[in-house]
Symmetry: C2
Subunit: 247 residues, 2 copies
DNA sequence: TGTACATCAGTGAACGCGCGTTCACTGATGTAC
DNA sequence: TGTACATCAGTGAACGCGCGTTCACTGATGTAC
């Protein structure tokens, strides 16, 4: 919090040169660079407050600008409203999410270890980008309808991509599209439950600290076993037998 | 909304006697009765606003009293703060939840139909007590720490009760407690996902209307297939092999 | 049943506060010559 | 390189608003005799 009270310009200086590494000449920054920095300071201030337990609906423009070290009116140089800042946070957080998926898809897909590896990547990302995941978890059920729908669509999109990936596995080749979506949804919801557990464990201890290694290991264990249990069922499913009446 | 603008006393009259059914004598109500009615009007006003898309953090004491047809100061005759009203709503909503569980546990547990029946009961309860479930879904991730923890504990308690129930099935007799909890958690989270889908589908159409019968049938189908898939895995699980390193 | 008094649910005015938004402004950065 | 002007990120004061909370009050309900 006191970190964020520094003005953007002081952030700039302290971040760019130590008193000994360069001469005393003031560091010149282009307007574009400073602009980008202030924008990021606003986004970071919002993420910090969300991570400290506030809900998105409790964020106020004044508190965000105060934490970013900027006058309230400056906010409008960057966003027309808090809703717009929220959408920028969705964009930023979804970028993190996509980076995680890319990493999870790459690498040798040794079939036995794919679950262990996926869970490890997921938990590592939540640990290292806790604020983004906390935001996504909150936005999913915020009072802001636009945010909520954007997020839900993103999750649905993700599930259908996973369904496409799953269709490539030999055991799943005969499954109907509808059943593949059902399975993908189950996997995604299990992952989301793991994320919620991580954030919940983090919130109980020192604020903004992650869960203890023991708590994280327990979450990993439960999540892996859930995914393994589901995987065990796959060869025994007869696609179509239980199919939806709709669709 | 205009319904709630009626004062508690006018609610009383219009609810208790029609112009023809009784004589014109004003209906006498004891203080205790009126007290109970106003309290309920406050709780209902809050539930209505939550169901219309507000988050718990956006509720204000003044808006709740306005909707309940009462002066702001009257609020304090019933609750010390909005947080206390929130806890009263937890109590009320959890009562609905427990009633549902009781109904689900009773009745012939014909093993083949237990999934179909459970899902039908779940969706019927969400349909008929939508406001309570909407509140529970929101409180789970509200900015209010007490509410959040109360709810999470309630869900954990429910999962461990379900684990106890599951232990009675012959196929599960050999499972470790830890694995039973993992399975129960997976079932509970799948149920919660179904509740979220119901509320989400409701919120998209006319506000405060439930999902269309088609949408509800689709949710039922997906949920049933998820639960069936999980059940298929149970006989193939070797408890202990994948056990947690913690415990 | 009738009277005198007590209780207490609900009122309405007042308060100070933090909020979102506006506005004319300042002064550093950028540019044209 | 030096000068004159334009741009524009950020300021700080002001506004009206809805908020939570307080207070002395009113008048219907309840009770003792």
């Amino acid at each position: 919090m006191s970190v964020n009270r520094r003005t953007p310009s002081s952030r700039t200086r302290s971040g760019s040169h130590g008193p000994s590494s360069r001469a005393s000449a003031p560091v010149r920054r282009s307007q574009a660079e400073r602009r980008q920095q202030t924008r990021q300071a606003l986004l970071d201030a919002a993420l910090d407050q969300l991570d400290e337990g506030a809900s998105f609906d409790r964020l106020s423009l004044r508190r965000v600008t105060r934490a970013a070290g900027v006058a309230p009116a400056a906010f409008y140089r960057y966003f027309a409203s808090m809703d717009e800042l929220g959408l920028a946070l969705v964009e930023e957080s979804v970028r993190t999410l996509r980076a995680m998926l890319r990493e999870a898809r790459e690498g040798g897909a040794s079939p036995e270890r794919v679950i262990e590896r996926s869970v490890a990547i997921l938990l590592a990302y939540v640990r290292d980008h806790r604020r983004h995941f906390a935001f996504l978890a909150l936005a999913r059920s915020s009072g802001n309808a636009v945010l909520r729908h954007t997020l839900r669509n993103e999750i649905r999109l993700f599930a259908s991509e996973l369904a496409t990936d799953l269709a490539r596995f030999p055991v799943l080749r005969e499954w109907t599209t509808d059943d593949l979506l059902m399975l993908a949804g189950l996997y995604v919801d299990t992952m989301i439950a793991a994320i919620d557990s991580m954030l919940d464990a983090a919130a109980s201890g020192v604020p903004s600290e992650g869960p203890t290694p023991e708590a994280e290991a327990e979450i990993a264990s439960v999540t892996e076993r859930r995914l393994r249990l589901i995987a065990l069922a796959i060869p025994h499913w007869r696609s179509g037998v239980h199919a939806s009446s709709a669709a």
